[in-house]
Symmetry: C2
Subunit: 464 residues, 2 copies
Amino acid sequence: MERSIITDYINSNKERMLNELLDLLRIPSVSADTKYKDDVLRTADSIKNRLIEAGAENVEICQTKGYPVVYGEKIIDKNKPTVIVYGHYDVQPADPLNLWHSPPFEPVIKKTETHPDGAIFARGACDDKGQMYMHVKAFEIMMRTNTLPCNVKFMIEGEEEVGSANLGPWIIANKAKLRGDVILISDTSLIANDTPSIDTGLRGLAYMEVEVVGANRDLHSGVYGGAVANPINVLCKIIASCHDENKHITIPNFYDDVLELSAAQRKEMEKAPFDLENYKKDLAIDDVYGEAGYSTIERSGIRPTLDVNGIWGGYTGEGAKTVLPSKATAKISCRLVPNQSSEVITKKVLDYFHSIAPAGVTVKAAEHHGGEPYMTPIDSIEFKAAAKAVETCFGKEPIPVRGGGSIPICALFEKELGLKIVFLGFGLDSDNLHSPNEKYNLENYYKGIETIPYFHHFFAEMKQ
Amino acid sequence: MERSIITDYINSNKERMLNELLDLLRIPSVSADTKYKDDVLRTADSIKNRLIEAGAENVEICQTKGYPVVYGEKIIDKNKPTVIVYGHYDVQPADPLNLWHSPPFEPVIKKTETHPDGAIFARGACDDKGQMYMHVKAFEIMMRTNTLPCNVKFMIEGEEEVGSANLGPWIIANKAKLRGDVILISDTSLIANDTPSIDTGLRGLAYMEVEVVGANRDLHSGVYGGAVANPINVLCKIIASCHDENKHITIPNFYDDVLELSAAQRKEMEKAPFDLENYKKDLAIDDVYGEAGYSTIERSGIRPTLDVNGIWGGYTGEGAKTVLPSKATAKISCRLVPNQSSEVITKKVLDYFHSIAPAGVTVKAAEHHGGEPYMTPIDSIEFKAAAKAVETCFGKEPIPVRGGGSIPICALFEKELGLKIVFLGFGLDSDNLHSPNEKYNLENYYKGIETIPYFHHFFAEMKQ
């Protein structure tokens, strides 16, 4: 494979490839909030058109019970290997809006000290419109330059940020269509552009919502305070009771299925470059905070968690209101590690919440969504092809790392399609995923577009 | 005093007296929220006009650093006793709006099973526009029927619901103007219309806001979860740590100044009628919840409390967002009993919050407002006149009770003006004060208007 064919094409089409992404980022495809329904659907339409323009065939918008999956393919030879590209066109909610320096759905390019080439600031810039769209552009390059070495199938969904509940049934119903050799996903990060890395595993997720209900109405805190359960105080007590002094999760049997790493494996992990002082400085915190006996890298990679993602109850306006609220609610999620099961953990957590609810309140707890943890073996062809592709583009062998995030559907891909997954991610931890001022560096966008054809090339070569 | 003079006047003017109150309730005078500033000021103007119409003299809108105090008086004879009427024209915020059955500032009269005469539903119907306006109408009656037995001064403020911070300085600057013999306040409740009662004390208040700040931005809960302090979890831990298993407040030295009641006093309190089953049924709770070793009446009357009035942080929208928020906030207040001091308790609570903040977060805690607890001696002329007035109207001797609510300025009245306070309240615990669907029974409104002239009469008689 001639590397310059790829880089020349990118250099000649840079501006267009960027503008197409910016157009995509202008559509607020927030899957969690039904008020954006039309926008989410419009985004699916847009992806369909872009796949057709890039040269994909049999492109269709596949209906599900929720938002549709956009499918497209290019079969060059049934005897050649097939790469299935998975990505998502939905994005996280943008709030709190007041913390954005520019409107989340009006992408702007800004140059920063650390990124002299500029970065795109917008919700979805990195997660996952930017990274997903790299695949569409990489495919265009291979089509236009006649370098496509294998078959490609695209499966771009619209519900990743809300748990991919409808993708599973769709996959099960379309197994024949989805026959292939590997699933390729760009929805993770690198340690740094001069320290490339590849995620070899992701954590699973169990997301729940818990509501504590006290009296049938908001009460005057003077008249009833002290005599009637306050749902906020009770909710805080329940949440506080989930961790002990060592920040160990106290929910009965929570750690039962955790696959503990050997001392040797933990030693290997320690080799990944990590600068605690820079980490703290970047977040402006005076110290890290987590489970005793584990390093920061371990806490966010190989250990399960329980975090409150949102809480509300009572009076939250300006000034003071002396109310004893009728209810309080929290969104709570656990990140899971091999071999924990989302369903099992969800049940354990919800059972625990119900079991410790005191008299005087009712606890209503329900599951939002979940996903299983996943691991890619580093001695597989899939991983080796990815490592070689990254090394070709970045000039350095990538470090295998365990990612802390989750792509809920991964475990199902493996189970139903029998395929391994490669996480070819080009984001950076500083990209503010799920946060205000999400960004994606232009350099990473173009490097991703360059690396993907190399992966196809090496994978096709190694597989045959 | 001829009782029929009063009742005849009320009967001939019932509709007008009601319509004037409804007009007042239509103005959303929410002092906590600056967006209602014009409405709060408009309400003060309205009170001024109503006092003039009723026959008050020297009526003026007295500026303060916050909302003004409306003052008016009628001096019939400098040698006669003077009753100072205190009330407030501001109201609590109306939210959560979605729980109101009718708009909070569009008062409606609805008949219910328990109140066949109907009740006014509106924010401020009882607290305190309805109860305050009874005094204006009672004064009108005494003026028009030539039965005013003493001097009257009105002092109606607009910041009671936010702590009366500017009333204190105004009182201190106007001591000469406020010379009098008793302060009369209608801003409390009766046990029931067939079980009249008079509050002999009110709890104090210490209101604070606590913010826990973690990283400098919202973070992806997968990438950082488990490794960085989650401000919501930390805030819950701080709040949960404020009570022990017996619901005793754990803040160091919190109970130091509490005046414990003797066994005899507690036995006396037990005599007040209280039906626990009805109490639970009314609130739709399966059990009460409070400090071990105390009854429900004691918990809400003679014991201090610590309640969260509002909490918020992270994602509170529809669906799920896997965010590790940058900060979480709670509004927290303590009800205080004699001889606790609002300033001392505020300091103890804030010191405690700061002292237990773990590394990895910053705790910012600040005072909103406070007020001291207050007690009226039941062997005083002031209380006796009130008891006789209530008995005259309701046909039963009222029971002295300790109220759980707070009127922050009471302790200052006593200290600066040297006056005792009479709490001549006509609300009911079911009036939903500070809650959605606040109401005030028409029967109680008119009974209040009737009782007030009796109080003036008996007080003038006993005092001379």
